[in-house]
Subunit: 363 residues, 4 copies
């Protein structure tokens, strides 16, 4: 089967992966209401096509925090790509670079920051961080990121601990032997490698290592250690968006962590407008969660997102086809976006404004 | 199977219980529209998480009518726990005490008030009453409740008679031989022990014993016989909430009796805001009906409830595991509530205000 | 099986009746959207129960155009009860009389007006009419109705022809040999007794005999021939309700003919408020279509109906149990209504006003 | 089976056609959201029937751009009727003429314009065009259309390229050998006759031949070459409707191309009101997409459409019964429309105004 949709990449991946790993990738927190709502939220908007517009040269290219991208698209930070494929983050980095996509590497990457950078020299990449209790480890990562030409730091703020993901609890999910977070002292992540029945190694590990006390005031500590732009990921309210602006944050990612943290949180797309409306137009707002088609990306842009991140589908491509599979996923998304821009008579990203959408069902 | 959700406790209980008893616990009135709506109503609200808040010490503790609770949670009054487990209400009382949960004992308990009190000395407990035609029996119960250190009386006002529960009518449900209401003269409840085809012993009994004539004016009779706070359970309208305030009631439980009385009544959560808005802020308003997750409890609090009661899930735990099963259910609810508070960046109960919720679907 | 719900009466009837006759009773026009919507419309309202009201003597009795009824309930006019049971309309009349229910006999009854009257002397009954092209036949019916003590004429105005009922077309439905409209010249209805493939005898007959030219002005002709009150059945709009008032009509039945005429028409319950609001409070407005529970009747009354008619369920009772079956259906409806009034704390019909309902889903 | 509904014609066609051709007819773009929404959109309106209106002579006849039609109905332009039946467009033309229906022939007809005209001399017909890169070919078609008495040109503006139709990609759909666009140089459409795995010949062909640069300004070129009225098909917004008026367009077809172009576009019926409201009352606005019943047509007219086009169902009739099958489909639609007009008490097209509809669900 040649996969014609992102969903079909998922089907191929599911056939290839051990069920426990599929569940780790696919699962959300609790009853997975938010994970499902992420997928459904796009259907609350219809696309209003314009006609008799010159669409001979649709242009999806954009710039984001100084980096040139072929489309307003990035790979969301996800832990341990090695679970999907032996080539791990290096393959993902290659796929991202080949397709002009931003790569956001996870603090829990299974390859070193330097290996990932070497796999795609010159390509735009950011580093995602959880705020660890061990501030020295955090500071060391920031230094290495700067040296390896990562262009921004993405601080995930929706995870004072890992959410209660029932699939992982049922599977007593733990990292397989030999798989570690390549950028951290193994001692720091050893808890992720074992789990008692009804527990998740990943969740236990987060309880030990994540700092649950940090507040807005702590951002200054991080700022003092780097000149890199600071992106907050996991903001879902206008209140926090305004606080982020006050604290000098450089960009936001509206996200519910793919439905993996607070079950019952709104789909990211539904929270996007209140965040966009709360910040200055110049501040880039990104969104992730449930993006499965280029038309979804068009809708996110029309609601004010500067770009979107895509997560699970990249792992699907990676799982069944390595770098080539991940590339196919990213190519397909961009192809679908261009197709949408052509058929909607909106050949530039600027044309994808709020007039491009109507409510569904209609008021 | 280690039950990871309240629903899984239900699965274990269903496998253990005779179908006729499962049906008695599970069934609602009529087409069970209200019973189902109770379960669905929570999904009409999303949780709006805040970020970069110190969540290292989430605190679910509260005080309710003078009693200290580990969480704003009580066991709803339910008849005849003996149907679920031989240890009956004594086991439930133990589980409630161990977990810092309020116990609301039913007038139709299968253990005496004194036995229940002895099972958990010092723990907070209330006594629920139906208004029996036999006022002497009622007065006697009130005296015994005071002596056994029950801290409030909960008068159920949505049941001038037991609702038309089709499962019980189909099963010709009656109490098994030897099971009686331990706190009442056996003659008073004998009708509950037999049922003609197509009839319910419980419903017949209510027709004989419940007083259908009482009105607001009669509350004075009860007031004159006790110094205990008086809680009305079963209020679903602003009109009645205002009358309750006028008549000096001490607290309200917004409830449709788990969908077991008037089928077609609104889910309790949907009625909660109009009741909260109709009474002074100092008057505690509780809610019950369909609570199946700690996040549900967080939503009830955000809508203005001071606490919530949980019913069937406690019987599920009791049915498959006795006191330990009931304890697991109550522990899980509190653990889920704390998890929700942490992940929502709302570590105190005061943080769970109306800004914590958004409408779903969005307006 | 003792049927505990109207739906269970339907199950018994379906098991007993030939499929072609079941389909004739059950079927709606077109895709049966309106027939289904009739059933669903009740769930758009919740019942708001009041508490601490004396409900010891709920009273469902009412008067309608001078007739005393045990409940605000009538049997809707339906053709050919003989298709359901050999005792036909005489059994239905007996059941209605025994339960204090209004009987609306159909112009296409399979028993004579006089036989039906004799089966239940003294009981309240109305006669339903289609406006036949043969005005003499119509005038003769009016005279006989007066003599046989029918108390009102119900003119069905939603049927210039019978709707396109696909089940009947598929079944090539025609009246069985020997079954005729007992009150009309057999020549008038002979077309109903045969059908070509893909056609319905009933529909063909209506094309031949129904007068498609009558307008509001023609009501004067009928008025001139009788002193009986005139009821219009099939009004669904405020515009027509106002015209009815202008033309001196005595009562209205808001109805879409059980979904058997215009598929796509609104459920009758949804149209009820605009009709009630368009006429003087003194003018009785009835409703029919999809009533399947006493709580439905309570909702209709709360929206301003003076009474409701029930159709198919009466034929279900008749089909499986003759007069006794029909009586069980009508008894059950009244019992459910009283149960609803008791549990809703609204023991009189006057208590069932618009405060008794809330919208669902909530605004 | 005598088909009683358009859907049943579809069932017969599906049984007869090769799956690949059925898929080509039936398929929409992407996830087929818009294709399904087209079918569902009609249920967002109920029909408000009037009573006591003379409906003895319902009249569905109308005039459209000077042509007399038996009903406000046309056959939508569809490519290659030869895929459905050997008699191809000639049979369709015959069926349209016999039933007083407008025929809109496709630029990709499998019979010549002259053959189609000869099959139904004197009947009203329009010619649909895509704007080909080869302007000489386009100009030649316009000249032939005038000579063969086509009465209007319908320029499809929602297709700068053919949409991404997954069924065709999966089937590697290409025109069968020997089937060509009879009105174009075979070289122009040769790409449609072959497809690599995962590609569609039709889509490839559109990429080669359709002009993606045309804008409103280009309409003048077409205008200069013909005196025929110009109809734009594929307008879904008020903005474009206003531009069309400014550019002197003679009529509009509100359409999403049967859900085959931009998946996520609104159902045409939902877009109809904003287009109708944006143009002068005298400008004919047509609609197509998802029409499956005469009542749908009544709803379209009530929302302001002057006529509607029907597509797939005509091919269904053609596929299983040639000209006779197509005629049965068009007859049935008109019969259903008249039935709706009679039962709704709206016997003229003028009666089908916005008072004929109510929102569903009700506000």
């Amino acid at each position: 089967m040649v996969p014609l949709t992102l969903a079909e990449h998922g089907t191929l991946a599911k056939a290839r992966l051990p069920a426990v790993i599929w569940d780790f990738f696919e699962g959300g927190a609790g009853a997975e209401w938010t994970a499902r709502a992420n997928l459904d939220a796009w259907q609350r908007h219809v696309l209003r096509p314009r006609v008799l517009v010159d669409v001979s040269a649709p242009d999806s290219g954009t710039e984001l925090l100084g980096a040139r991208l072929a489309a307003p698209l990035g790979v969301a930070p996800m832990a341990y790509h090695r679970l999907a494929h032996p080539d791990a983050e290096c393959a993902t980095a290659e796929a991202a670079a080949d397709t002009g996509t931003l790569l956001v590497a996870s603090i829990f990457a299974s390859r070193t920051l330097e290996q990932i950078a070497a796999a795609a020299p010159g390509a735009p990449r950011w580093l995602q961080l959880y705020w660890l209790r061990d501030r020295e480890a955090l500071a060391a990562l920031v230094r290495r990121a700067e040296q390896a030409d990562y262009r921004a730091l993405v601080l995930t703020v929706d995870a004072p601990k890992v959410g209660r993901r029932l699939r992982d609890l049922r599977n007593a999910f733990a990292l397989p032997p030999g798989l570690t977070a390549a950028n951290l002292d193994p001692a720091l992540t050893s808890a992720a490698g074992r789990a008692a029945p009804g527990r998740s190694g990943i969740e236990e590990h987060s309880r030990q290592q994540f700092d649950t006390r940090i507040t807005w005031a702590d951002l200054a500590w991080l700022r003092a250690r780097t000149t890199l732009p600071l992106v907050l990921k996991g903001v879902l309210t206008a209140e926090d968006a305004r606080l982020a602006v006050e604290h000098g944050v450089d960009a936001l990612v509206v996200s519910n962590h793919g439905g993996r943290q607070l079950d019952g949180a709104p789909p990211a797309l539904a929270a996007l407008p209140e965040v966009v409306d709360a910040v200055p137009a110049a501040l880039p707002v990104l969104v992730d969660g449930g993006l499965r088609h280029g038309a979804d990306l068009a809708k996110a842009l029309a609601l004010g997102a500067r770009a979107a991140l895509v997560g699970r589908p990249v792992l699907w491509g990676l799982a069944h086809g390595g770098a080539e599979g991940a590339r196919a996923v990213l190519d397909l998304l961009r192809e679908e976006l261009l197709d949408t821009m052509v058929l909607a008579g909106r050949p530039t990203l600027a044309d994808l404004d709020r007039t491009a959408l109507g409510p569904w069902p209609p008021h």
